[in-house]
């Protein structure tokens, strides 16, 4: 028996046609494109984002440095673009990982119901209610070698990247889990699912073949909604020195030293934060708009 498809809201075409969704999507696309353009632009200018030039510290904008330089002479625009690449990469990957984790948990909770559902949802509530940042501070300070990770990974450049993706996914799955659970609960009662069960399909098969495909909409909505939150989490951890570590630039760690130089170079404090704000607002608008358009049960206008 083939999986029946749900008709959700006004459908995708209707959703994307609305202007409300168009502009945040465009903003995000523009940001991603700008970030991707970083390396070729750097090559064209003959510089790179980590090139230090002590004789031109804290320089004002000029032709060679469109947004000026930072406290050790690196080009601010190039660093913003690299930071964008990193933040969007982390945001996207962590959101994906969180989505997978959240879908698994939400699906099991919603379909199986009963004590398992109660337990998993209690767990989700617990994670939401925890004072996250203090716990993440501890987790970020762990010695990875003691966890048994091979030395090659621990000493690689990208270890801070892997670590922050892992940390953020560990706590970012709750939004997806909740939405997926709700959808699974209502789907469970549908005829086609009942039919499949009656025909003797095993629970795993029912979940994966019949329910999961119909979860596409809530998963996408939830994932988009969680990207903003994930980017914020990454930026605050990087700011505290526990996320992306220099010299890899991330919007968060570009602000780490900004407090000290704030009197001399306030623009260094302005740009990275503004980028985070714009990106997260766009993500939130997109997610909200998607939810309104695609989820027929959502009560907001």
């Amino acid at each position: 028996m083939s999986a029946a498809r749900l008709v959700a809201g006004r459908g995708w075409r209707g959703a994307l046609g609305r202007k409300r969704l168009l502009w945040p999507a465009l903003v995000l696309l523009a940001l991603a494109a700008a970030a991707a353009l970083g390396p070729p632009l750097a090559a064209a200018l003959g510089q790179d984002a980590s090139l230090v030039d002590l004789h031109h510290r804290l320089a004002p904008p000029s032709l060679g440095h469109l947004l000026g330089t930072d406290e050790i002479g690196r080009d601010v625009l190039l660093r913003l673009m690299e930071g964008g690449r990193v933040s969007l990469l982390v945001g996207g990957t962590a959101a994906l990982a969180a989505a997978i984790l959240g879908t698994a948990i939400g699906l099991i909770a919603g379909y199986r119901g009963g004590t398992l559902d109660a337990l998993l949802m209690r767990l989700a509530d617990g994670v939401i209610a925890l004072p996250l940042l203090p716990l993440l501070v501890v987790l970020a300070a762990l010695d990875l070698r003691k966890l048994g990770l091979p030395a090659a990974i621990v000493q690689s450049d990208a270890v801070s990247l892997y670590r922050i993706i892992a940390l953020v996914s560990l706590v970012g799955w709750t939004t997806v889990a909740r939405l997926v659970r709700g959808a699974s609960l209502s789907l469970r009662a549908r005829e086609f699912v009942r039919a499949a069960e009656a025909l003797g399909a095993r629970p795993w098969r029912v979940m994966l073949v019949h329910i999961l495909p119909n979860l596409a909409t809530p998963i996408i909505v939830a994932t988009t909604l969680s990207v903003g939150e994930i980017i914020l989490l990454e930026s605050v951890l990087s700011f505290l020195g526990l996320g992306i570590e220099p010299p890899m630039a991330s919007w968060g760690n570009m602000l780490t030293g900004a407090q000290e130089t704030i009197a001399l170079a306030p623009q260094l404090a302005l740009y990275p934060g503004l980028m985070i704000l714009i990106t997260v607002i766009a993500c939130n608008f997109l997610g909200d708009g998607l939810q309104a358009a695609l989820d027929p049960r959502a009560g907001r206008r």
Binding site: P131, L132, L133, P134, V138, L139, D143, N284, R300
Partner: protein, 317 residues
Amino acid sequence: MTRFILRRLVQAALVLAIMSFIIYALIGLMPGDPIDLMIASDPHLSAADAVRLKALYGLDRPLFERYLAWAQAALAGDFGYSRLYAKAALTVLAPRLGNTAILMGASFALTLAIALPLGIAAARRPGSAFDAMVNLLGFAGISVPSFWLALMLILVFAVALGLLPAGGIATIGDGGILDRLTHLALPVATLTLASVGGHMRYMRGAMIETLQQDYIRTARAKGAGELGVLLHHALRNALIPVITVVALSFGSLFSGALVTETMFAYPGMGKLIYDSVLGNDFNLALAGLLLATLTTLLANLAADIAYAAADPRITYG
């Protein structure tokens, strides 16, 4: 009702125990020799004491036994010695908790005072310019990184205008009410602005949904005044999900406090946890984290009770 409360208390205690075990295990994974540091942190320990403590807590003991030994001491009030402050961990924590309570309390009150009325007002005029503005502010509120907000506030009020201090809790040699209030202004503003967006949106959403209900139409049809409808019928029902969300946000308020305190060098619990983890003072970090978790659990418990009390549809037990 009492049985309900008791059951929730038991659950909370269980969660706390599990969390304490997890955190204790995590601390053991810190770089260097954390258990050794925890034992040896007290310079007033004699050599005999150190040996005795190593036998109890040393890394050669299995994790669970170590944890039990630690838990026993903790329940008796002994959280070990803080390396950074040369005092018992608990005596360092107590005043800090007070400072954080002031910060969080003031921000919480201010947040509710701003978010609730604005959310209700926006819900009453859906689609209007006012509503659109509130909606936009709400979005901005949940999208802004709080540490950047702090930086901007410092830039404007402390650096450019010189009106408010950029950090600390009081000026040395002063400490009067006015001085302390000026030092609280920016941290409270940061924490409030960072939390107000989410609550505003939630209040607005809950209110809109409630106002669409049938019983509201009935009340209006029966001739009840608009204000009466709003307060007696709509608000009471809209508040129920809002109470839950508001109480559950205690955890994120604490996280916000950590960032705010670190930015403004405000001597509170959040900054203490951050400093102690980075300063390898694990006795203090452990105690601080547990205290933070405990207060969060208590806040959630209070939320559950308030929710159960407010909503007549909920059955307890």
